[in-house]
Amino acid sequence: MSPELDQSQPLLTVNGLSHYYGSQLGCSNVGFDLYPGEVLGIVGESGSGKSTLLKCLSAVLPPSEGEVIYRDRTGLPHDIYQISESARRMLRRTDWGVVEQNPRDGLRLGVSAGANIGERMMAVGARHYGGIRSEAESWLDKVEIDLGRIDDLPTTFSGGMQQRLQIARNLVTRPRLIFMDEPTGGLDVSVQARLLDLLRGLVAELGLSVIIVTHDLAVARLLSHRLMVMQRGQVVESGLTDQVLDDPQHPYTQLLVSSVLLP
């Protein structure tokens, strides 16, 4: 995060965002502000519009209505669907990061771990092999992957390592905003716990803003400061995470919270 940035200005402002798949509703009239350093959780059951919303926010799926305004490092606001496609893709490579649920979608499986981390640097003009490699090493270290694996293909990594590699690959250009879609989906609990621990540390250390979509309320409680609960494309409740989970107001949120199994 750049020091000159005014912390009281939202990083991302969303107004009246709706998306329809033909006549089918994806998400409807979503609006919120995301401030620097803030982690926003989006929870809800399958088909509630979480992933549609995340795609609209991360400039993958143009919404039917509404706007997404991002404030860049100089403090200038940009409507991400009004700027040119090249600027939008540049934003996705530099200021933003996207961590996919399935690391296969977010990694380049045919090239080594080092090349995966280096790709974004090369995409923004890094042309010094030694520099790229030492940066890749430092990020492998940060996400707790053995440096000896730098030239191995990601296909030889375990699920948890692939997910950490994906995080390193995204963070190497020092983004300000990370989108995560079920980052712990498909991982067993101990691996999940380590990943969450790592994420929490990185978010705090780098001052990242994060929008995280999950159906796991425990993950949401651990990571996010604020929570939005979605049902049938609508945001039915939002507020501070502890407040929403400890004192749910909407009947659907009450159902969701009471449905969690305790071991």
């Binding site: 080594s112 090369m122 010094h128």
Partner: protein, 302 residues
């Protein structure tokens, strides 16, 4: 040195009909106007299989005229099957004068080499291209690669070179080495050895590239900047040989390794057969003392 032939009856001049030639010429004009950009064109079926030079042969058919002299090389040699057949094709369908001399040719169709003899402004070099898309091996989606070209997103090309250095300690790509044309488009130079890449830079001759199966034409106009991609700390470099050509003694040409017998004896000879012959005609000779091997045999190894 050139031979004149009589065209066969029943074919339009140079096989293709005039409307097709106009269509290909329009694609060529666009390609020349945007150096390195792949222009789609309506590739026709040609009487030879894909992969044997259907793209190059269509370009040659579209630009050739009655006064042209055609040379065709395959891996540098004039007397391999592919080269002989394409030369004979134009002799029969256009009554073309053909030659094996680089200096005497006005159009040179090539597969996988650039002649050692520097080309002139009044010559056209036509390449046969199997895979025109340099991004293909990193990004399989055509929609995406076109967008990457349009937006100049070429970071993944360096990912491939990074991977080479990480695995082999040096850039191990030796042919089809990607180039940046006119500071704008990344282009595949067709599978020429990277030894030939520096010859493309500021070449006085017009360079045309035709991919028949993929139906793409691209071009490098004369005197255009062509830079091979590299890293600051791993600069682009070409192959070196410890030997000179065994026949003509050349120390600056691209050499082929020819196995001589079952005892592991081998020799290195110029891959450009015309260059080698010219030098020998001037009295140059290499260290090969044994019986002169049949030229045809050499070139099959090439």
């Amino acid at each position: 040195m050139s031979e004149q032939h009589e065209a066969m009856e029943g074919y339009n001049f140079a096989y293709l009909d005039e409307q097709t030639k106009r269509m290909i010429r329009r694609a060529i004009l666009k390609a020349v106007a945007i150096p390195g950009y792949q222009v789609p064109f309506g590739g026709r079926e040609m009487p030879l299989p894909y992969g044997w030079g259907t793209g190059g042969i269509q370009i040659t058919a579209a630009v050739i005229g009655h006064d042209d002299v055609l040379k065709v090389i395959d891996q540098g040699a004039d007397d391999t099957t592919n080269a002989v057949n394409i030369r004979r094709f134009f002799s029969r369908t256009a009554g073309m004068a053909t030659t094996t001399k680089t200096v005497a040719a006005s159009i040179i169709q090539t597969r996988h080499r650039i002649p050692e003899q520097p080309l002139r402004e009044d010559q056209v070099l036509v390449y046969q291209v199997p895979i025109p898309e340099p991004l293909r091996f990193m990004e399989p989606r055509e929609v995406e690669t076109r967008k990457m070209h349009a937006l100049r997103e070429y970071g993944v090309m360096h990912v491939k070179l990074y991977e080479d250095i990480a695995r082999f300690g040096h850039i191990a790509t030796t042919y089809s080495y990607p180039v940046l044309v006119n500071d704008r488009y990344v282009m595949s130079p067709s599978p020429i050895p990277k030894f030939d890449n520096p010859k493309m830079d500021m070449m006085p001759a017009l360079q045309l590239f035709g991919a028949g199966r993929e139906k793409r034409i691209y071009a490098i106009p004369p005197y255009t900047k062509v830079k091979s991609l590299d890293f600051d700390d791993y600069p682009f470099e070409v192959q070196q040989w410890e030997e000179n050509c065994a026949l003509c003694g050349a120390d600056n040409s691209y050499l082929d390794e020819v196995v001589l017998d079952d005892e592991g004896n081998r020799m290195f000879v110029c891959s450009d057969s015309d260059y080698c012959e010219e030098r020998r005609a001037l009295g140059e000779h290499g260290g090969f003392t044994g019986e002169q091997p049949d030229l045809e045999e050499q070139n099959h190894v090439a």
